[in-house]
Symmetry: C2
């Protein structure tokens, strides 16, 4: 669509949406919408559409792993609100040449991930079209006090991410290069973790629930479009700014050689590459050590302190040489 | 997709779905899924995907009316369960050449219909693709005792439809003929009601809620694939058979001349044409007169008694000459 970005379109839709309802807790503008009442229980809902050759490439994505990923990216949105995924709707637009065996493989990936989380397919729609378009909608639930929003960060909060960044973007770039050059990426065993990060992202469902119920976290979302964009969402929603420190950004060590091989800046992969599906969250000042210790003890999970929420607005990167630059919304746009 | 019908695919998905949950009241196999608990309130959810040139044609469908229709077809599913639509998720796959002005028109149609029912867009996703694919998900609510399912019909129940059948199928056929022949259908003023039935279906939301709460209705669904198929769904779910009578099937009188002009069988349009979005429901024996009278008095709405639920299975048509034939699942498949 010429000259209309996803954000512009969302704003167009948001502009038409002026109505309110007492049981609509959160509409457009977070990882999930939230509805229901505190008395009767609150539900989370999120939807993601994946298009053939836009969001995935069957040349390197097996149907099983793509099935897992279609669910995982939605589970990540539920996780980012502190929720537990429960029910799934599948809307499939299937081209005439799609083979039944591919679809069975895709479904087996879908159902394998659903089974791991005790989730159930409750409905959907299947139609014919010229290209493969997969829309997954997931319903989740959470105790109201455990639901984390983007708009909760305050100046002085510490900014954390739940794991290494840039791996999926590096993995995608490797697959794209391999396809372009006719190489088989199987030979790149040193970069297997990067390839896997793209093929089979793991939604941080357990961690998200832990963080939501910890009492330490003030805001949260998942990193789907890159830290530079997703942190900007938190700042915009919270009315704050932020500083992140290049030296504190976690990444897998193998990303260095991959970035060199790909002739890409590692920092771009880490900050602006999409599809990490790590959690990004802010922690009340003074609660950092407690939270880090509890996560190590109870979940055996290490988190990474990458910056600080400030007054002002946007996302400032402080580089290793202490120079600063504005990277607000410089992430990947699907 | 070669050799895999929508029903076969749904069965494939259903086969993978063995899990149960105490707050999943109804999964796959009705117009909506139903979740929640009686104590905390039950929610309905439904999703429909519409694909450019498969489910609509922008050659004759204005963006405003298509926007209305994308919502209306989902509202019809909520209505068919006796519910009230509340919240909407939009997942849009937009081709690069789609004009912003078209999208604004489409959105204005969407929001106009939503406003009529006090519904709110609460989220969604927008992505790029080669063709226009529109997936709408609607959440509705209903008091648990008012929710109507397909599986409730019993031998001896009377079968009703909420309005004339075949109009939308005739309207679609007229538009298709006009496009093929380069004619402007505006000249066909005598068939305007048929054209409108295709362009701008009206979901029977108020009627559905009335029927759900009437105490007279044993099963219900909407007619989206034609009476022959949709009644077969009720029979399959209820473990019953059915007989419908050609002479009692309601249709607009102008469908006769349109069928002649289109060289189509009127009975095929009425029984097998899709997209009527009337309600199909069964009424407990002895409650027919009461229900008909209340609907006339309270909603000024006439309903049509078209047949009887029987033992056995499937859908039998008794023709005007008293001959009988099996028309089970002979409706339109999208």
């Amino acid at each position: 669509m010429t000259s209309l970005s996803e954000r512009a379109l969302i704003n167009l839709i948001r502009g038409t949406t002026v109505a309110a309802a007492p049981d609509l807790i959160k509409g457009i503008g977070d990882d999930c919408a939230v509805f229901g009442t505190a008395a009767t229980g609150q539900w989370l809902i999120t939807t993601d559409t994946l298009v053939d050759l836009v969001h995935f490439d069957r040349a390197w994505h097996s149907p099983e792993l793509l099935g897992r990923k279609c669910i995982a990216v939605n589970f990540s949105d539920i996780a980012a609100m502190g929720g537990r995924p429960r029910f799934v709707m599948l809307a499939l637009c299937l081209p005439p040449d799609l083979e039944e065996v591919w679809l069975q493989g895709w479904l087996s990936g879908v159902t394998a991930l659903l089974a791991e989380y005790g989730c159930i397919i409750i409905g959907g729609d299947t139609v014919r079209g010229r290209e493969l378009v997969i829309t997954v909608t997931v319903l989740g639930e959470a105790p109201p006090e455990q639901i984390m929003y983007r708009a909760g960060a305050a100046a002085g909060d510490s900014i954390y991410v739940s794991g290494p960044l840039g791996s999926a973007a590096a993995g995608l770039a490797l697959f794209q290069k391999a396809k372009l050059e006719g190489t088989d990426p199987v030979q790149w065993s040193q970069w297997q973790d990067l390839l896997n990060a793209h093929l089979n992202p793991l939604p941080a469902v357990k961690l998200g629930q832990f963080l939501g119920s910890s009492g330490c976290v003030s805001s949260m979302q998942d990193i789907s479009d890159g830290l530079a964009t997703d942190l900007a969402h938190i700042c915009l929603a919270s009315g704050t700014g932020s500083v992140i420190y290049e030296q504190q950004l976690p990444s897998l060590s193998v990303i260095d050689s991959a970035a060199l091989f790909l002739q890409k800046e590692k920092l771009d992969l880490v900050l602006k590459g999409g599809e990490d599906y790590q959690l990004l969250f802010t922690v009340h000042p003074g609660r950092e050590a407690e939270l880090e210790a509890r996560l190590l003890t109870e979940l055996n999970h290490r988190i990474y302190h990458v910056g600080t929420i400030t007054t002002g607005h946007g996302v400032i990167l402080e580089k290793s040489d202490s120079s600063r630059c504005d990277i607000t919304f410089q992430g990947y746009e699907h």
